[in-house]
């Protein structure tokens, strides 16, 4: 027998309204008027059959209306049948929400089996304990596939489990518990059970206390995995300003690491480059390795760091990394007429400092210089930039002009246009410089007004030294850390008296407060004047080790590469979605190749910005329309998942916040939640609507 229950049984009192149509029916039945007519000869055969038919119609109409009212009253009373054949009031179905951790750490194999296999077994075991009419729902964290889970029978839930695999994302058990509680609270009856199955990794439990679980909900915690796992992982890798690759590995975290041998290897562009052995895996510690990289061609390069050692989690042993080697800064150094002695030739020092590697081997630095020297008279406008005034393309990034005896008008004009278009100009001075001619020729290009040439006398205040510099300036940023070099050591014998012009910025001063380095922005470019020679004629600075990094930073700062350069080394995390900008100057992205070689066409064919979600770690490659790799995308398992330290079930239980039983909060569920129930009222209302239509038809066809 059906055990019909009502949510609002009090509304059944409304069945009294059934008397209304009966009374109306009887009332109108009595009203029969008597009239006198000339003759009834035409009515005598007025068939009784017709009257009988009409009475039947009236009766049917009355039944229709009574049934309609009955259905409406029943619908408002919200009847429902307990699910499951033969269910009684005492055997109401139990609702169970399983919160299953399917994060990357569930791939760990501490013990003999993978944590995921053990977790599935525990869920299946719990599902097996349910009765056939119970209902269960599976909430996974991170929630990839189960954005809108459904209540299922135990059998259906087992089928759902069969096709489930762990992901690589970061678990948030707090979010899983919140969603599981929400589903349970939407059930019409109080009670329910929340079963948490996972490795209880401490990172995934940090937000457990943020959502409250009503006290009437039972919470069961079924942990998987060992309490004392051991893991070795490459935590991060990055390329420093000098172009070296640095790698941090995390070892140990517990005593199981004692005596474990481990080795870290680096592969560059698919080829093994080097290896380091890990000295100490005995305790929880981080160790950073530095890899000196070779010179790279311009473009994207990929690196893979692998740690080999006996640990419980192999998923994080590989770390993928990609970096971009930019084009060298095109530098044009103008020749001076300083004689044949190399030590007196500024261009010798400049070229040696900017491109220091011997025999053209180049530099591994992220910022390289390609230096070319030319006679001032041989420099044409087309060597500096191309195009009309509004659309100039720089052919040269940086022009260094040591002290020149004469600056031609054409050269000065070209330099002005070059700087306004975004080029960088560095001016040095020396004996050949005539302040009058310089100011006449360069005019607004000069950040300072040049005075007379000064010579330091040893008996007075000479030789001069650099007393102060602007630490916020990119030119001197290398020397913010005092350990990187002392700028006060170099001495300066000669200089010019200089007064900075309005709008100029003094970046460094001598010890007598005379300007040493002054910069000035002009158009989109910048001009810097250095109040000394680029050779050893006025100063011994080129012989000091601080000269080279200073000159490199000066070159990068004045060409604005430091700010224009995009993030050139990247790493992404599995289980997350990113908006990725593809570098300018390349074709539009068309497809992406996954780590396993699986190809996926991209929707964005014109924009250089693509939205991508990475499910598995590895090296992805974005292709253009011609199939050329635009850029590699290194994806790694999130570092949180590498930390396998776990909490105990009781520690998790202590973190849970319990709220009042749901009976007190029943009103909060509201009518909206009832729509999820297996209620009968929708069928009643639908039948009522059909009956209403039938009643309308009958009423129109029946005489009153």
């Amino acid at each position: 027998m059906w055990n019909l229950l009502f949510t609002n049984a009090a509304i059944l009192g409304g069945l009294a309204v059934l008397a209304v149509p009966i009374v109306i029916h009887l009332w109108f039945r009595r009203r029969k008027q008597r009239i006198r007519f000339s003759s009834v000869r035409f009515f005598k055969v007025a068939d009784a059959q017709m009257l009988r038919k009409r009475r039947l119609s009236h009766l049917f109409l009355l039944m229709c209306r009574l049934l309609l009212l009955l259905l409406i009253v029943f619908a408002f009373a919200q009847p429902y049948l307990p699910t499951g054949a033969g269910a009684t009031k005492e055997e109401l179905p139990e609702y169970v929400a399983f919160v299953l951790d399917r994060s990357g750490s569930m791939r760990a194999t501490d013990g003999n089996a993978m944590r995921w296999t053990e977790a599935l077994g525990k869920v299946r075991e719990a599902v097996g304990e349910l009765s056939p009419h119970d209902r269960a729902i599976l909430v996974t964290t991170p929630n990839g596939a189960d954005r809108s889970p459904k209540w299922r029978s135990p059998t259906a839930l087992k089928k759902e489990l069969a096709g489930l695999q762990p992901g690589y994302g970061v678990a948030d058990l707090g979010d899983g518990i919140r969603r599981g509680t929400k589903w349970l609270l939407e059930r019409p009856q109080a009670g329910g059970r929340l079963v948490i199955v996972g490795d209880l990794q401490w990172q995934s439990c940090r937000k457990i206390g943020r959502s409250a679980v009503p006290e009437d909900l039972k919470v069961e915690i079924r942990p998987v995995g060992e309490d004392d796992p051991f893991n070795l992982d490459v935590t991060r890798a990055w390329r420093n300003e000098s172009g070296h690759l640095k790698t941090t590995i995390t070892t140990g975290r517990n005593r199981k690491g004692d005596g474990v041998e481990a080795e870290v290897t680096l592969s560059l562009d698919g080829e093994r480059y080097g290896a380091h052995s890990v000295a100490d895996t005995s305790s929880s510690r981080e160790e950073t390795f530095r890899w000196s990289l070779p010179e790279f061609d311009s473009g994207w390069h990929r690196a893979k760091i692998t740690i080999k050692g006996q640990d419980d989690f192999k998923g994080d042993d590989d770390y993928f990394f990609a970096f971009y080697q930019r084009d060298p800064i095109a530098t044009l150094c103008l020749k001076t007429s300083s004689g044949n002695e190399r030590s007196r030739q500024p261009e010798f020092f400049l070229k040696a400092a900017l491109s220091p590697a011997k025999s053209g081997a180049g530099s591994p630095s992220r910022y390289r210089f390609r230096v070319e020297t030319k006679e001032p008279g041989a420099v044409s406008r087309f060597e500096l930039f191309q195009g009309a005034a509004q659309q100039r393309v720089l052919m040269t990034d940086l022009v260094i002009m040591p002290g020149l005896g004469a600056v031609g008008k054409e050269l000065a004009k070209s330099l002005k246009q070059f700087v306004r278009a975004g080029g960088g100009l560095v001016l040095f001075v020396n004996d050949a410089v005539s302040p009058v001619r310089y100011q006449s020729a360069l005019g607004e290009l000069l950040p300072v007004t040049l005075g007379r040439q000064e010579e330091a006398s040893s008996d007075s205040n000479g030789p001069w030294r650099i007393e102060s510099f602007d630490e916020t300036s990119r030119v001197f940023s290398a020397f913010r850390n005092r350990e990187n070099g002392n700028l006060k050591i170099p001495t300066f014998k000669e200089r010019f008296a200089m007064v900075s012009k309005e709008g100029s910025r003094v970046l460094a001063r001598f010890n007598d407060d005379v300007a040493f380095v002054v910069s000035r922005a002009m158009g989109q470019g910048e001009v810097v004047i250095v109040n000394t020679s680029a050779s050893t004629t006025w100063t011994d600075w080129p012989r000091h080790k601080t000269f080279l990094p200073w000159l490199h930073y000066l070159g990068r700062a004045v060409t604005q590469r430091a700010t224009k350069e995009r993030q050139a080394s990247e790493s992404y995390e599995a289980g997350r979605t990113y908006d990725i900008n593809v570098r300018d100057g390349v074709a539009a992205p068309r497809a992406i190749i996954g780590p396993e070689g699986d190809r996926r066409e991209l929707e964005s064919k014109t924009l250089k910005r693509v939205r991508l979600r990475f499910e598995t770690p590895g090296l992805y490659r974005i292709l253009d329309g011609a199939g050329k790799v635009i850029r590699p995308i290194p994806v790694n398992i999130p570092p949180e998942e590498s930390d396998l330290r776990t909490l105990t079930a009781s520690e998790v239980d202590n973190q849970l916040v319990r709220s009042k039983p749901r009976a007190a909060n029943a009103g909060e569920t509201g009518l909206s939640s009832l729509s999820e129930k297996h209620e009968l009222w929708p069928y009643l209302l639908a039948s009522g609507a059909l009956l209403l239509i039938l009643e309308l038809v009958l009423a129109n066809r029946t005489y009153a």
Binding site: K32, Q33, R34, I35, S38, F42, A704
Partner: protein
């Protein structure tokens, strides 16, 4: 006839409410005649009565050309007509006539009065038979003015309370009509068709030109009631439950079939069948009479 003949009529309901039946009859007939273009006076007596101006429709043979020659105006000579036609008016006084709004019997009685008055004006001799009750009231035809008064007096006293209808002793009365003439039957004829045909046959054998007026009320025509009714027969008291809305179409069909059968029977016996509704003008009925009389003349 044209529509103009009805223009001077008083309202029907007003006429029916006036108790002075002679006045009603005179006003009806005078009103009717004033719009009747063709002169109804065409008696054959040689005794000159008077002149009157020529009216459109007058017979040109009756124009006095000598007067025209002298006065250059057209005059028609009028003669003192002699009674040359006997007319019988048979009025149904059964209870079924006492129905409707306007009342069928009042309509019928007014029609009979007007008909009598017109007959006398025509120098015909009207007779009156009131049937439908157990015993018929009879006034033999006479053409005097005093006779008209008696006819109208009898009509004034008549009431629709009979239960007999065509089952009354009308047959005995009809058999007494020997002279050829015109008989006007005014009744709702709500009886068996066979009985109506039998009456018409009898009149036919009595050499009567029969003018049959079936008087019906608007309610009988339209049956515009709503809902369920317990309908009582005015003559027999019998009751029937009827739902007006459901039964209207069937009723109207049955009434139409009955009237068609009566008309068919009447026409077969040379009678002139007319259906008159109590909310219609009386002039139509009077016009029918004059048309019929002209045929006899």
């Amino acid at each position: 006839m044209t529509d103009e003949k009805t223009t001077d009529y008083p309202a029907i309901e007003t006429l029916f409410d006036v108790e002075d039946l002679p006045l009603v009859a005179r006003s009806v007939v005078d009103g009717f005649l004033s719009g009747y273009h063709r002169s109804p006076y065409f008696g054959h007596s040689s005794e000159f009565a008077s002149y009157r101006p020529y009216m459109k429709g007058d017979d040109l043979r009756r124009v006095d050309w000598k007067v025209w020659a002298r006065t250059d105006e057209l005059y028609v000579k009028q003669f003192e007509d002699e009674t040359n036609l006997y007319g019988h008016i048979l009025l149904d006084c059964s209870a079924s006539m006492d129905f409707g709004s306007p009342n069928k019997f009042r309509f019928a009685r007014t029609l009979a009065s007007a008909m009598s008055y017109l007959m006398v004006r025509q120098h015909d001799a009207p007779g009156l038979v009131l049937f439908g009750r157990d015993r018929c009231d009879l006034l033999s035809p006479r053409s005097h003015q005093t006779h008209l008064d008696e006819v109208l007096k009898l009509l004034s006293r008549a009431s629709p309370d009979g239960r007999a209808g065509l089952d009354s002793d009308i047959w005995e009365v009809v058999e007494t009509i020997h002279r050829r003439g015109i008989t006007v039957v005014i009744s709702d004829l709500l009886s068996d068709v066979e009985k109506v045909e039998k009456l018409l046959k009898q009149l036919y054998f009595q050499r009567q030109e029969v003018l049959l007026f079936q008087v019906l009320a608007p309610e009988e025509r339209d049956f515009n009631y709503k809902g369920e009714y317990l309908i009582e027969d005015s003559e027999t008291g019998e009751t029937v439950t009827v739902h007006a809305d459901m039964f209207r179409k069937i009723y109207q069909q049955r009434l139409r079939e009955f009237c068609e059968r009566v008309a068919h029977g009447a026409n077969g016996l040379g009678a002139d069948y007319n259906r008159a509704y109590s909310d219609a003008a009386l002039g139509d009925a009077l016009g029918e009479y004059l048309e019929r009389r002209s045929l006899i003349a």
